[in-house]
Amino acid sequence: MSEYKPKLVCFSCKFSWGYLRDEDTLSSKIDNWMPLICTGKIDATHMLEAFKAGADGILILGCPEGDCHYQDGNYEAKKRVYLVRRLLESVGIEKERIRIELSRDPEGNRIPRLVEEMRQELAKLGPLKKGSMIEKKPKETIKARGGK
């Protein structure tokens, strides 16, 4: 069990997080990091897809309240996170597996720290329970679907 290292996907908005740093240097310190322009771009589908692809948790870092370059992308992201949490809970997935923080860190030093903090929280929860998004379909199915 001590071997278990939760997989985390971190999305962060380039307007507030790490924009003064060289992206390559920073990304070498953060696994599965997706810097993007505006967290409002993160659709609820992307969140579910991250879990489907094997993530144990998702961390979203958006711009401070009232500071979105596109007016309200960060609020959109926050509302989506709250709604997706409700979905996750209904299918037996802990809501703590998805977090959003609206703040700023131009140097980006806090990103690896926040990721590590959340990773530790996730380690307490353990791996995602088997049984839904990542569940394999029956063998025949895969055959019937032409190996998809």
Binding site: A44, T45, K79, L83, V84, V91, L128, S132, M133
Partner: protein
């Protein structure tokens, strides 16, 4: 020339889809004259054994409704696949898992405990549960195996076409059947309904303000909804923006918001997630408290957003400790 053979079959079904076939009324008589219906358990007397005796591909088209949750349903689905040139997944259960798919939000064990032990009307002093085989007076009796979850039809067999709806409206049934008879079929895998969203054809769309902004989610039974105004603008959740068009607006016309039976629009896998993204933009809330308050007013989001589609969605099923 021999008439093309057609099968109409139900798996885990309420019978509503078969009713939709009957609702073609006189047209059904014309169809019946043009084809040879070789299997229709709800309406005619045929044996599955005679189906087994048929040649592979002998049936031109099988209209299959209902979900798959037990080994018998799976066996019949596979048998029909073998004997049919074309399989049409008929109705939301076959296409997406349907309302019975909501059972994926609970477990097989919980269902059995409730149905055979805990429900107040149950008297079962010996604690009998259904078994796939049991012997009575030296005879072996068998029952189909009840699976852990509900599947959509394409989870167990290859499906050629999809006709969503709970049930599909009669005109779309006619369209689908005549497309086969006249050999005017779209590419394999097509969903026989428009690609766009219901909002695109909804009469209430014109009443939408430039920007919808709701502070409070209201439920349809709690309010007197205006029959001409967009439901979302009234704070009532309507799944029209994320649901495929083609139902004929049966719900709209009786002043009920869209519940999503036609499934996602073209190219979208999970209509619930798509709706969430759209919904976030109309909720008028900023602080954590405001967001939490309005989001928590949304009663049973999974049940509402995935009423017809849990098994085919990205959620698929509740996770349990194994």
């Amino acid at each position: 020339m021999a008439k093309p053979k057609i099968a109409i079959c139900w798996l885990g079904s309420c019978g509503g889809c078969d009713e939709a076939v009957v609702d073609m009324n006189e047209v059904l008589l014309r169809v019946a004259a043009a084809v040879d219906i070789i299997l229709w358990p709800v309406a005619m007397d045929f044996k599955y054994d005679s189906l087994k005796g048929m040649k592979n591909g002998e049936i031109a088209l099988s209209l299959v409704n209902g979900h798959v949750r037990n080994s018998e349903q799976e066996e019949i689905a596979k048998l029909l696949r073998e004997k049919s040139q074309l399989i049409l997944a008929f109705g939301s259960c076959a296409c997406l898992g349907g309302t019975p798919g909501l059972a994926n939000l609970t477990t097989k064990e919980d269902i059995f405990s409730w149905v055979y032990r805990d429900a107040p009307t149950v008297v079962n002093p010996n604690g009998n549960y259904p078994q796939t085989t049991s012997s009575v007076n030296g005879k072996v009796l068998t029952l189909p195996e009840f699976y852990d979850r509900v599947y959509a039809l394409n989870d167990v067999i290859d499906v050629d076409y999809y006709l969503p709806g709970c049930p599909p409206p009669p005109y779309s049934v006619m369209y689908a059947v005549s497309a086969v008879l006249e050999d005017k079929l779209p590419p394999k895998g097509s969903i026989l309904a428009p690609h766009r969203a219901l909002c695109d054809s909804c009469k209430r769309n014109q009443s939408k303000p430039d920007k919808i902004s709701i502070k409070e989610i209201r439920r349809i039974h709690e309010v007197e909804a205006d029959p001409d105004t967009c439901f979302l603008a009234q704070g009532i959740i309507c799944l029209g923006p994320a649901t495929r068009d083609g139902c004929g607006e049966a719900c709209m016309s009786i002043n009920m918001p869209c519940r999503g039976c036609f499934g996602p629009v073209e190219g979208v896998e999970d209509s619930g997630a798509k709706f969430i993204s759209a919904m976030a933009s109309i909720l008028d809330a900023e602080s954590d408290e405001e967001v939490a308050t309005v989001v928590n007013q949304f009663v049973d989001p999974v049940g509402y957003l995935y009423r017809f589609s849990v098994p085919a969605s990205m959620l698929q099923k509740k996770r349990v400790e194994k």
